[in-house]
């Protein structure tokens, strides 16, 4: 493949023999190392897939672990017919979708206000949003744990051990980030555009919905994808705040229910992990360019 493209490219730059030969070698080496890195980066997901297609007998046999001799879909059938797994999937889906809607509503409106309608303290607030985005959840889960107990004592609302609590919690991770991305996108829209709209008598809300949202749509899509990915992947909060199997979301559910003591049913664990990774991967496969645009625009966590 590499050779073919070099052969095609050669006639177009015939000058300086040694230089184009250098380039050809650089290209070969690039492909060689890219293949190596691709193997390293894709090994775990590929191994997930391999294991998920094996029977438990084959997994525990001392054969080549990278080869499937009796491919089977039994693991998928078992897992998807388990009520429990479907409950995890449903919880994760509802939580992620609600978090995406909530986050985008809060952050698009707030970002518009911060980027265009300066008010007292708006610059400080923009910096504050950014700082919030740097505060990790590992710092917040313990005080939140105690706050939930206090809410229960004072208002009689039990926030602990309910999947919907995650809809309240995840926006703390997603809103600062989405707002930050959106401020950047909105700031890049020329001022003349909204001034023209305002002169034509549009309200602020109309300016936002008729001009800013359509123009900043790529940014909104990127922020939406990220919000979904973060919400789907979040692990610490559900691990700390939910325990009953009916209340778990997918990542925590797979880890706490499929791993029982020292008995690891690896075929099912890998199937579950692959199904858990599937929604973000599928979205990524279709909207990769938005994903990468958002990554580089927002200087996301990584």
């Amino acid at each position: 493949m590499a050779d073919a493209s070099i052969a095609n490219g050669a006639p177009s730059r015939p000058r300086y023999g040694s230089m184009s030969r250098d380039r050809a070698w650089a290209l070969r080496w690039s492909y060689f190392f890219l293949v190596l890195f691709a193997i390293f980066f894709l090994m775990p997901p590929v191994y997930m897939l391999i294991t998920s297609l094996k029977t438990s007998a084959e997994i525990s046999a001392a054969t080549n672990p990278w080869w499937i001799s009796n491919p089977t879909l039994q693991n998928y059938i078992d897992l998807l017919s388990q009520n429990q797994f479907l409950v995890f999937f449903r919880n994760s889906a509802i939580v992620s979708i609600c978090v995406v809607i909530l986050t985008m509503m809060i952050s698009v409106i707030a970002a518009f206000a911060l980027a265009r309608m300066k008010f007292w303290g708006s610059a400080t607030l923009a910096t504050g949003v950014f700082l919030t985005y740097l505060i990790p959840e590992t710092l917040l889960f313990i005080p939140l744990f105690k706050m939930f107990a206090w809410v229960n004592e004072t208002f009689g609302v039990q926030l602990m051990n309910h999947w919907w609590t995650m809809i309240i919690l995840y926006p703390t991770l997603t809103v600062p980030f989405a707002t930050w991305i959106m401020i950047g996108y909105f700031a890049s829209i020329p001022k003349e555009l909204d001034e023209a709209a305002l002169i034509d008598g549009a309200t602020w809300m109309q300016t936002l919905t008729k001009i800013f949202i359509p123009v900043a749509l790529p940014g909104i899509i990127a922020a939406t994808i990220f919000t979904f990915t973060v919400a789907w992947a979040q692990f610490l909060y559900p691990l700390a705040f939910t325990t009953s199997t009916s209340e778990l979301v997918l990542p925590v559910g797979i880890i706490t229910t499929l791993i029982k003591g020292d008995v690891f049913n690896w075929g099912q664990i890998m199937t579950g992990a692959l199904l858990g990774a599937a929604p973000p991967l599928i979205i990524y496969a279709f909207l990769m360019d938005y994903y990468i645009a958002g990554l580089t625009a927002g200087a996301t966590k990584g």
């Binding site: 206000a113 007292w120 504050g128 703390t172 809103v175």
Partner: protein, 309 residues
């Protein structure tokens, strides 16, 4: 209400001064109201808990009595705590360095190949970053399995003896860093690739006319041009890696013998599983200094970039 004021310039011109004043006032009021959900969210669920953590850390285990720095004194006297400090720093610094190096190298290779194929490679190499970390760490846990390790099987082909990936302290430390590098380096790759594309070609042409070797080109052209993005990406990553939880929790759960615990996982062990919330809060607070330092630098860079534009 506000809409009427904005929509009716005629009404405003009738009483110019007070009307204009009112409009200004209203505009900032609307803006404040639009930002209010964000402000409330940050205040109640981020700022307040962060401050509350400081208060919690000064209470005794039953949270009935104020003990001042008692929890911190207790931590300073424990070997496990110093092990966690050491491991957190080792984990974060080593992982960020390797992520940056691998990201830089891979970005160069992707940049080298014809632009037609770049999208495909980039898409493939970013996959580790898209999979939820808890799920991909499970795959690594299975690759590292003590009895069925597929990695050891591959090593055996080359005659290398099986490695106790998660069983022995040194290797377990290596393994958690390896998984973190695996997840994080695609992010660096994407950032550096974007930065590489923004370096003007003329600079390289000028350098090669001056007879610069490839190494000199990287050292004197690429690196200075990318300095900002390299720094900010590394600082971001340092914060996230330092505050990591998923990887260590799933891969080793802090073991063997607490050798892989970092602040996040140890705070969870002590605070939630051990039931000593104040001590857990005290442990997690030790992340603040490094976060504050990194945040200051990032913020300085961002305001600098903002004023340039």
């Amino acid at each position: 209400m506000a809409d009427v004021a904005a929509r009716n310039p005629a009404a405003l011109s009738a009483q110019p001064r007070s009307g204009l004043h009112k409009l200004m006032q209203r505009k900032s009021t609307i803006a404040f109201l639009m930002a209010l959900p964000l402000i409330l969210l940050i205040a109640i669920l981020v700022a307040y808990p962060a401050g509350y953590a400081v208060y919690l850390a000064t209470l005794n285990k039953g949270m009935t009595r104020f003990v001042g720095f008692g929890n911190f004194e207790f931590l300073f006297g424990r070997d496990t705590f110093w092990l966690v400090v050491y491991q957190s720093c080792l984990f974060a610094i080593t992982a960020v360095i390797f992520k940056a190096i691998i990201g830089f190298v891979v970005a160069h290779f992707v940049h080298n190949i014809p632009s037609k194929g770049q999208r495909k490679w980039r898409g493939m190499l970013l996959v580790p970053w898209v999979i939820p970390p808890a799920m991909s760490t499970l795959a690594w846990l299975w690759l590292f399995d003590p009895s069925y390790s597929a990695l050891n099987w591959l090593l055996a082909i080359f005659g290398i003896e099986g490695i106790p990936w998660t069983g022995e302290a040194g290797w377990a430390r290596f393994s958690v860093i390896l998984v973190n590098v695996w997840i994080g380096s695609p992010f660096f790759m994407i950032m550096y690739l974007a930065a590489l594309k923004s370096v003007p070609d003329q600079l390289y042409e000028a350098a090669s006319i001056d007879g610069a070797t490839w190494w000199q080109r990287i050292w004197y052209v690429t690196l200075p041009m990318m300095r900002n993005i390299i720094a900010i990406t590394a600082l971001f990553s340092l914060i996230v890696t330092f505050a990591n939880f998923d990887i260590v929790r799933v891969l080793t759960a802090g073991g063997p013998l607490n050798s892989t615990h970092i602040f996040g996982t140890w705070a969870f062990r002590v605070g939630i599983e051990g039931g000593d919330i104040p001590l857990g809060a005290a442990v997690s607070l030790f992340m603040v200094p490094i976060l504050a330092v990194a945040a200051t630098f990032i913020l300085r860079d961002i305001t600098k970039r903002g004023s340039e534009v």
